[in-house]
Amino acid sequence: MTRVLGWLAAAGLVIGLVMAFIVAPRELTQGHVQRIMYVHVPTAWVAYLAFGVVFVASVVYLARRSETADRLAHASAEVGVVFTGVTIASGSIWGKPTWGTWWTWDARLTSVAILFVMYLGYLLLRGMIDERERGARYAAVLGIIAALDIPLVHFSVYWWRTLHQPPSLMKPGGASTMPAPIMAALLINLVAFTLLYAYFVARRTRLLARQQQALA
């Protein structure tokens, strides 16, 4: 199953690259630099998804003390941190030619940076506590608290005045006005990156189970 997910993700990423560089047209205002969107938006979406999964798995862990839920939260947080790092880096690279700066402390960028640091802290906390059950419990609490930042990140562009544009997708109460080829390229990349996330999490979760068995 994991192998199938891996091949599907690889095929999706190849199709996504073709869509982003060949099928999608050059954007009129920004030019070719807008093609960064096909990696920036999907990685941001996966970051939301990953930390949403951490939230749900943490609640399940605290309610049932399920080790599977704990492993899922751990794996999803780790993968989420990688994808958030890519989101921040690609956003910064996109920001320089369009805004004239690599970084600015506006609401969207700052809230994403806080999200990144909180989940890095989550992983550090897990690594610091030797007693497994106690580490899992503390991490679950932090996983729930940190998830409160996800809506803050998403709606920050509406709640505060920011340099960042409003969301390309998931707009509150409105359909996207994007041209069809650009929308198609974006959706295919969203699916491809989601498959890659599922593949990484499946592999990491299985690995965590094996590591725990070896230590038991």
Partner: protein, 44 residues
């Protein structure tokens, strides 16, 4: 606006390095676990 291809390439390259790096990390951790499993256990 200028097309800024270098920025596009940099963004995709960083994504490839980060995601490829994580994939390699998983492969290394799996190899470590397999090696540990294969090692004969010392009698106590």
């Amino acid at each position: 606006m200028a097309d800024n291809w270098s920025f596009v390439i940099a963004a995709y390259a960083i994504a490839a390095i980060a995601l490829g790096g994580y994939w390699r990390r998983l492969a290394r951790l799996e190899r470590d676990v397999e090696r540990r499993d294969a090692r004969p256990r010392r009698p106590r």
